[in-house]
Every structure is written in structure tokens, then in C-alpha cells.
């Protein structure tokens, strides 16, 4: 379990309707890294994520997780170590009770009931949702749903967390709590997002996708200040790196 490296090589994928979503993506992510995956709508972020635990099968190229190539044989093992948090929590929380949902993964792993019970409690406590255990998921707020969705993945004790737009639909405080929560995790993290401020907070490294290819890959601070690159990829500086409307200009000079 010491070297959970994600290695993607020349990955290509075309959807059945002919859309070329990935056109040769190569990316290597080391153990413990947090990487933000940014890019315009339709740049291929979600498609790339779906390859990381075999929801999609590559047309060409390969995905290796922790040294295993992703094949039908290793699929179960890989899914165990890659925890995927979906964009819409309603897709992920399909069981009638929060407790059952968080227990779903561990039960499928065939763990004994006491162990499952303990993992459920621990996962819910980690995300601060212990009091929601006996509630049905559809009656939770968006922020609560997101926390529970994360708990439902944590309970499998994955070593890699993959998230698609974790901060969407959250109010500012829920978003801040999410950022703090994610910041406290020691997992290898891959976060696809449009929330560049979140990327700045959580991920020292950023990879920019543009039309199915990696347009840039490097230190988040460098990439998010490269206006030319950001413009070409339909992005812009995170708000915190933009001029302040009150002290306009002064902020610039301070950072310069």
C-alpha cells in the first residue's frame, strides 16, 4: 500500500455518438499528491475520471493504479483503492438510509458486521455527519448530501480519492467546510473542478485539460497566474488572484 501511483498513458476515448472526449492524455500522479484537474466544460475531465476506476474502458492507452494495470481481473482491487465521489450526490446515495448507504461498500467487500458498523460510524464522524445516520438521504441539504457521499466512499478506506466537482451546489460555508475536510485527508486526491479557488487551497499541482489533451501540468500557483493559458482554456484567474474592487491596483502592486 506504500506507492499508490496513478499512471495514465496516452489515453484515448470516443463516446458512442462520435464525440472524441480524450485524445491522448498522459498523466502520472504520485502517492499523497493532490492534483486539481481543471478545464472548460466538455474538456474531458469527467471522462478522464471515469477511467480511473473502470467505469469506462479506454479505446487506446492504459491506466495503472498502484502498479496494477486496470483490467477486468484487477477491477475489484482497483475499485477498492480508488474512491469515487460523483458530481450529483443523488446518484451516489441510493440506499434508503444514510447508514445503509455508508455501509454499502464495506458490506460488498464482505467485511464482518461489527467491522462494518465501526467503519460506518467512523466515516460519518470524519465528515461530521454522525447525527444523520438514520435519516433518508433525499431529505438532507446539499451540503449534508455531499458529506454523506464522501463518507460512503471513506468507509471503504480507499487510498486514492477521486472527486468530480465537489464544491458544486454548496453555499459558501458548506464549501469552506468541505475544503477544510478535504484538506485534512492524507489520501492521494484527484479533484476535477471549476472552482479554481478550491484548487488553490487544496492542490499544490494542477493539470489543465483542453479538448481532450493535457494543455499544462505544473504548480497550481504558476498555472493559475498564466493568463494566456487560462484564457485559451476558457478559464480565468481564481478570484483571490484578481484585483480587489475596493483597493483596485494596490493588490496587484502588493503581489508584484
Amino acid at each position: 500500500m506504500s506507492h499508490h501511483i496513478v499512471e495514465i498513458q496516452d489515453l484515448r476515448y470516443t463516446y458512442p455518438d462520435g464525440t472524441q472526449a480524450l485524445r491522448g492524455v498522459s498523466l502520472t500522479i504520485l502517492h499523497g499528491e493532490s492534483v486539481a484537474l481543471v478545464g472548460a466544460n466538455g474538456a474531458g475531465k469527467s471522462t478522464l475520471l471515469k477511467h480511473l476506476n473502470g467505469c469506462l474502458v479506454p479505446e487506446a492507452g492504459s491506466v495503472r493504479i498502484g502498479g496494477f494495470p486496470l483490467t477486468p481481473k484487477t477491477l475489484a482491487q482497483v475499485r477498492r483503492s480508488v474512491g469515487m465521489v460523483f458530481q450529483d450526490p443523488d446518484d451516489q446515495l441510493f440506499m434508503p438510509l444514510v447508514r445503509e448507504d455508508v455501509a454499502f461498500g464495506p458490506l460488498n467487500l464482505g467485511l464482518p458486521p461489527e467491522e462494518v458498523e465501526q467503519r460506518v460510524r467512523q466515516a460519518l464522524e470524519t465528515v461530521g455527519a454522525g447525527h444523520l445516520a438514520d435519516r433518508p438521504p433525499y431529505r438532507l441539504s446539499a451540503g449534508e448530501k455531499r458529506s454523506v457521499a464522501i463518507a460512503s466512499v471513506l468507509s471503504m478506506e480507499p487510498s486514492i480519492l477521486v472527486m468530480d466537482e465537489p464544491s458544486s451546489h454548496l453555499d459558501p460555508r458548506a464549501r469552506r467546510q468541505l475544503i477544510e475536510l478535504l484538506g485534512s485527508f492524507r489520501h492521494t486526491k484527484i479533484i476535477a473542478t471549476h472552482d479554481l479557488d478550491l484548487a488553490l487551497d487544496l492542490c499544490p499541482r494542477t493539470a489543465v485539460l483542453q479538448q481532450g489533451q493535457i494543455a499544462a501540468d505544473g504548480a497550481t500557483l504558476d498555472i493559475l497566474q498564466d493568463d494566456q493559458l487560462l484564457g485559451a482554456c476558457h478559464l480565468e484567474r481564481p478570484l483571490r488572484l484578481q484585483g480587489c474592487p475596493i483597493c483596485r491596483g494596490q493588490g496587484e502592486s502588493a503581489s508584484a
Binding site: C55, E117, P136, S152
Partner: protein, 270 residues
């Protein structure tokens, strides 16, 4: 559509009710299912002209509602919502069956009216008992109980998913409906044709969601079997509840108590 949303909200009230903590709620779900089944079988097994002998059976729903702390008005409104079905099943009986069976003083009661009353009474009894069962047990425990009683897993899983995604589906549908009505300015839009297309849209969205849900399940190691945390075992109180009620139902079924009380009462008067 606002009506559907409102009734859905109403539906979720069953969830709230099922989380109460009363002696009835604490009973093992399987026991409640079996007792309710026995109740329904006993009620529907009577002869079609029976009315009086059915009355003692009111005891069971009354006990469930009062001990289970259920709001009577709410349950009654749910029973009424389903009433048209029973009403139309029996409404022509008085027309076709004109044989006079009973005389209440000057009023002659025909077989048709008796069987109509009997159908309505049975309907109220069985539906109230079923609703009380759901309200004191909750959909989730109910499905689990049915499964443990031997209902094939395919059905219980379908039922659970139906219940879980009903809320999502209605929300999606009402969003579409709202989007349509906001741009149709009080007119009917372009009428039924648009509704047809919206239904198609809804189906496609549902299929998409089904795929995403399935992907989410696969990601967490789903192999086709839904594992549930087992809990709740049958205790002495549960056995007592089950046996007591089945015994009572048998007594009420075999002996026509109201008639017996009636005879005893009229016997007192010379």
C-alpha cells in the same frame, strides 16, 4: 403538478411517522406484517352480505392508531384518496341485487345495499390497517421484513429503489413542468404534444440517471446482491402480539360477536 409535489411531501410524512417511538413502532416488522396479513385474510374471507360481524375487526386498526400515536385525520385523508376504487366496485350492487334481506323497522334493506356496505367497510378496514402498518414500520423496514419472510429479493430491491427515486423523479418532473409553464404565459403551451415530448425527456433523463446510479454502485463493489445490516430479532412481546391478534381474529371470524351481544340484549327485554 403542484398537487403531486404536495402529495409527495405528504408521502414523506410516513417517514416521519415511522420514526416515532411507541410500543407499536418497537414491534418487530415481520410480526406486524404477518399480523396485518392475517387481519386482511380474515376480513376478506367473510360472506358478501356480512356487515355486523365485521365491526369487531375495527379494534385492530383502532389499537394500532391509538398505541402507535398516528394522526387519525391524516390517515383518514389517505383512506379517502383510495376510496373511489372501492366505491365503484360496489356502487351497482344496490341496482342489481334488490332482494330484501333485512328489515330495520319500516326500512327494508336489500342485499345490494348490504353487500355495498360490506365492501366499503372491508375497504376501510384493510386499507387503514395497511396504512397503519406502513406508518408504524417505514418502507425500509417493511421491505426488509418482506424479504426475510421470503419475498424474492428482486422485488424488495425494486420496491426500495422505487421508493428512493420516486422523490428524485417527481422533483425532476416538476422542474420540467415549472420551466414549461413559466414560458407558456397562462396558455396551455402547445398542449399535449409538448407533454409527450416532456415525458420522453423524462424517460431519457431517468435512463441516464439509472446508468449513473449503477456506475456508483459498481464503484463500491456491487456484484448483484444487496447486503443489508441485519438487526431486530423476534422477542416474547412480538410473539405475544402476533398470537394474541391471530387468536382474536379467529374468534371474531368464527363467532358473530355483535349478533351474540344483540341476542343477549334483546333476551333481557321481555
Amino acid at each position: 403538478m403542484a398537487g403531486i409535489e404536495a402529495s409527495l411531501f405528504d408521502l414523506s410524512r410516513f417517514d416521519t411517522l415511522s420514526r416515532l417511538d411507541t410500543p407499536i413502532h418497537r414491534l418487530e416488522p415481520r410480526v406486524k406484517v404477518l399480523t396485518t396479513m392475517a387481519f386482511v385474510v380474515a376480513v376478506v374471507s367473510f360472506d358478501k352480505y356480512q356487515v355486523g360481524a365485521l365491526l369487531p375487526f375495527l379494534l385492530y386498526p383502532v389499537v394500532l392508531i391509538s398505541l402507535g400515536d398516528l394522526p387519525l385525520g391524516y390517515l383518514a385523508s389517505k383512506v379517502l384518496a383510495a376510496a373511489p376504487f372501492a366505491f365503484f366496485v360496489g356502487v351497482f350492487n344496490p341496482v342489481f341485487d334488490r332482494e330484501i334481506l333485512v328489515r330495520l323497522g319500516p326500512v327494508a334493506v336489500t342485499g345490494g345495499w348490504l353487500s355495498f356496505a360490506s365492501i366499503l367497510l372491508r375497504f376501510v378496514l384493510t386499507v387503514t390497517a395497511a396504512l397503519a402498518l406502513v406508518a408504524t414500520t417505514g418502507m425500509y423496514d417493511l421491505c426488509r421484513a418482506l424479504e426475510r419472510l421470503g419475498l424474492p429479493r428482486a422485488f424488495t430491491v425494486q420496491l426500495l429503489f422505487l421508493y428512493r427515486y420516486l422523490f428524485v423523479l417527481v422533483e425532476e418532473a416538476s422542474r420540467m413542468h415549472r420551466a414549461r409553464s413559466l414560458r407558456s404565459f397562462g396558455h396551455r403551451g402547445t398542449g399535449l404534444r409538448v407533454y409527450g415530448q416532456m415525458l420522453g425527456q423524462l424517460l431519457l433523463r431517468t435512463l441516464d440517471r439509472a446508468q449513473r446510479v449503477h456506475a456508483a454502485m459498481l464503484c463500491r463493489g456491487f456484484t448483484g446482491e444487496l447486503h443489508l445490516i441485519r438487526s431486530a430479532s423476534i422477542g416474547p412481546k412480538d410473539v405475544l402480539f402476533l398470537c394474541g391478534w391471530i387468536g382474536a381474529f379467529a374468534l371474531m371470524r368464527i363467532y358473530d360477536l355483535p349478533a351474540w351481544v344483540g341476542r343477549a340484549a334483546t333476551g333481557l327485554v321481555p
